[in-house]
């Protein structure tokens, strides 16, 4: 089998997995399963980046995504394990999964808007895909070159990132202190 054909098939397979896993993680009710499928979706995205020959430069963002997913899983696990289930009806806030008319209206309006936007996108970009010129080969930049590019042109951004990280450390301390006071 032709290498490009194999690559193409694996690509479409990965994309299908990503879409299917995303669908499951949005629509399932169980929180642990949602985060589990989210993690799998991130894993497939990481694999896809290798198929796009951008795996190595994508490593650092991928690590951030995976760490975020793990933390989300921890929080959800904490909620599932330690959350008190009510023995009696908690009023409007406690209603579980009942379908209200405004929920249905919300779903219908969201679905219709998304479909309309999708139609607009496809009809507007059709011309672009007919006229594009592909590059002859698959060439991507390597990690050392990327680091050099970031270091030489984007130093102010790294500076602001450090500032906001310091800010967030102070904020964490503040939030933890206020939580201790509340407890």
């Amino acid at each position: 089998m032709d290498g490009k054909l194999v690559l193409g098939l694996i690509n479409y397979l990965m994309l299908s997995f990503i879409f299917f896993l995303g669908l499951l993680s949005v629509f399932l009710n169980n929180q642990r399963k949602k985060t589990g499928f989210l993690f799998l979706m991130f894993l497939c995205t990481g694999l896809l980046s290798f198929l796009f020959f951008a795996g190595i430069p994508f490593i650092l963002p991928a690590v951030i995504m995976i760490i975020f997913c793990f933390l989300l899983q921890l929080f959800v696990g904490n909620q599932e394990f330690f959350g008190l289930r009510a023995q009696h009806d908690l009023g409007p806030e406690g209603k579980k999964g009942k379908i209200f008319p405004d929920f249905i209206v919300n779903m219908i309006v969201s679905a219709v808007s998304c479909l309309y936007f999708g139609y607009l996108y496809i009809s507007n970009t059709g011309k672009f895909y007919r006229e594009i010129k592909y590059q002859p080969g698959f060439n991507t930049i390597q990690l050392p070159d990327l680091i050099e590019e970031i270091g030489s042109n984007y130093t102010p951004l790294i500076f602001i990132l450090i500032i906001i990280l310091i800010c967030s450390v102070v904020w964490f301390i503040l939030m933890i202190e206020s939580r201790r006071k509340k407890n």
Binding site: T125, P156, L157, I166, I173, E177
Partner: protein, 525 residues
């Protein structure tokens, strides 16, 4: 000598961020005292921060006059960026006033101050950003800072458990919508990348790539994300609900840090907007409709509300809607493009001149009466004549400053309306459709002004109304003891508003008391 050369090289290298460097220096020192709760430290750092932000404001202007324009791979610092930075630093001084009044006694005050200063530094990097990566990333960092500041101000405010929980829910709703808007922005940039790897809006227009279908689609997604970010009707739910429930200093953070970030992004994309809007009926219709909905729904919502914070939250839409009408006029050829760009900054300034003093006073009354309602204003004119008069001037100033563009004159922004009404055949492209369009724009502006005046008159009437005594001596009609600082603060704002209004009125008779002529100012942008 080597040291002096080093300092000189650093100074050359950090232009135009001298103001940011000053604020960062203060934040760096604050870092070592972040855990302190001592009163002397708080006073010292509060005064230090005020001084630092004021110095940053003045330094920015002086350095710009000396060094002029600046442009590189990431930033583009022009006169409009100088104005934007000035507005944000001015707002920062006032937000600091509100924070210090409400939070000084708290143990976390220095931490809140530190978060505030770092957020302002991040904002000052966002303002001159012109490269797409710089714009997007610095915007996300700024919003993260605003989120941290907002939640810090709203922690430990003495609410009951259920009220705190409701506030938490609305905070999460509000900032999750912002996160969604930012994710949509990333999607917009990714779609644009399909057509070109040009790195700024200016490059897009100069390379004439802007008519590519992928670029147009990406820009559509970007404008959609901005629509969501600004909570424009009908997506206003999270914003309106949050503003009523949050602490008073955090409300000013939303009005004068969060929303300006979105408005400045709209300004960064103004050349793109004008490129497409010029002579395009559909875009101008869309602009007028959005402006009309913002102004009408905002003012109707304010009329039906009895909560002062909610009224101010709705009023904010008038600020944005009025500026958007000027963009529509510009698209129709009735107003210069630069004037429309200035209109957003001018309207923000007008809002700042009104909101800060009014909100400070109403927050104090809310604290005194334990309720946020328009009845808090009853009897103010009778019991505190001076404050009542100040408040009336401030309230009257709001619609008038919006119409005059704050620092210009009434004629600059009313002229298009006068043109449309008096000589309709000569306006726009001359076709019947354009005349109808311009009538829509003029009608929207006049409706907006009328609604706003009705709301302002309602508030002024509340100030003059006599309050029915509650029978409790400690809360008798309108009696509230205020520190001297409130009188000084309100007086300064009244004088400023009177000066601006006098200048705008005298301009009609060709007498100028402002240091710069409006036409000179516009040509500088």
């Amino acid at each position: 000598m080597i040291f002096l050369n080093l300092v000189k090289n650093i100074a050359e290298g950090i232009y135009p961020f001298y103001g940011s460097a000053v604020i960062l220096f203060i934040a760096f020192i604050l870092l070592f005292f972040a855990l302190s709760g001592k009163k002397n430290a708080k006073i010292f750092f509060l005064v230090f921060s005020f001084a630092g932000i004021s110095v940053a404001l003045v330094l920015n202007i002086i350095m710009f006059l000396q060094k002029g324009l600046f442009s590189n791979y990431l930033f583009s610092y022009d006169r409009l960026e100088l104005i934007k930075t000035g507005i944000i630093l001015f707002a920062a001084i006032n937000i600091l006033v509100v924070i210090s009044i409400n939070k000084f006694e708290k143990k976390n005050f220095i931490k809140i101050l530190l978060i505030f200063l770092l957020t302002i530094v991040s904002f000052t990097f966002y303002i001159p950003a012109s490269n797409f990566i710089m714009i997007f990333t610095s915007l996300v960092f700024t919003i993260s800072g605003i989120f941290m500041l907002f939640t810090s101000l709203n922690s430990d405010i003495g609410y009951t458990v259920s009220k705190e929980y409701i506030l938490r829910n609305h905070t999460i709703r509000f900032f999750t919508v912002s996160l969604f808007a930012l994710a949509l922005m990333l999607a917009g940039y990714s779609v644009m990348y399909g057509s070109t790897d040009l790195k700024s809006f200016v490059q897009l227009i100069e390379a004439e790539k802007i008519t590519d279908s992928m670029i147009k689609t990406g820009l559509f997604v970007l404008y959609g994300s901005l629509f969501v970010y600004l909570f424009i009707f009908p997506l206003q739910s999270a914003y309106i609900k949050l503003l009523k429930r949050c602490e008073s200093a955090s409300a000013t953070v939303i009005w004068f840090l969060y929303f300006p970030a979105g408005l400045f992004l709209f300004l960064k994309m103004r050349k793109v907007f004008f490129y497409f809007a010029e002579g395009n009926i559909y875009i101008i219709y869309a602009v007028y409709i959005v402006a009309f909905v913002c102004i009408a729904a905002g003012n109707i919502g304010a009329v039906k509300s009895s909560s002062i914070k909610r009224i101010l939250a709705f009023f904010y839409y008038s600020v944005f809607g009025t500026a958007l009408i000027f963009f529509g006029f510009s698209g129709s050829g009735l107003l210069e493009e630069n004037m429309a760009a200035i209109a957003i900054c001018a309207n923000l300034s007008a809002a700042a001149f009104t909101y800060f003093p009014f909100h400070l006073l109403s927050a104090k009354m809310e604290q005194h009466n334990k309720k946020d309602e328009i009845a808090n204003l009853y009897g103010l004119l009778k019991q505190h004549k001076y404050l009542g008069v100040c408040l009336v001037i401030i309230l009257l100033g709001f619609p008038l400053l919006l119409l005059s563009g704050t620092f210009f004159s009434f004629t600059n922004f009313i002229e298009p309306v006068i043109k449309i009404i008096s000589v309709p055949a000569e306006t726009g492209a001359g076709s019947g459709t354009f005349s109808l369009l311009n009538y829509l724009g003029a009608g929207t502006l006049m409706t907006g002004v009328l609604f706003l005046i009705i709301n302002v008159v309602r508030l002024i009437a509340a100030v003059g109304k006599t309050r029915i005594s509650a029978g409790d001596g400690s809360r008798e009609a309108g009696k509230i003891s205020l520190p001297k600082f409130y009188y000084i603060y309100l007086t300064l704002y009244c004088l400023a508003i009177l000066f601006l209004l006098a200048g705008n009125i005298l301009k009609i008779f060709d007498i100028s008391i402002f240091p710069l002529e409006a036409s000179e100012f516009i040509q500088m942008i």
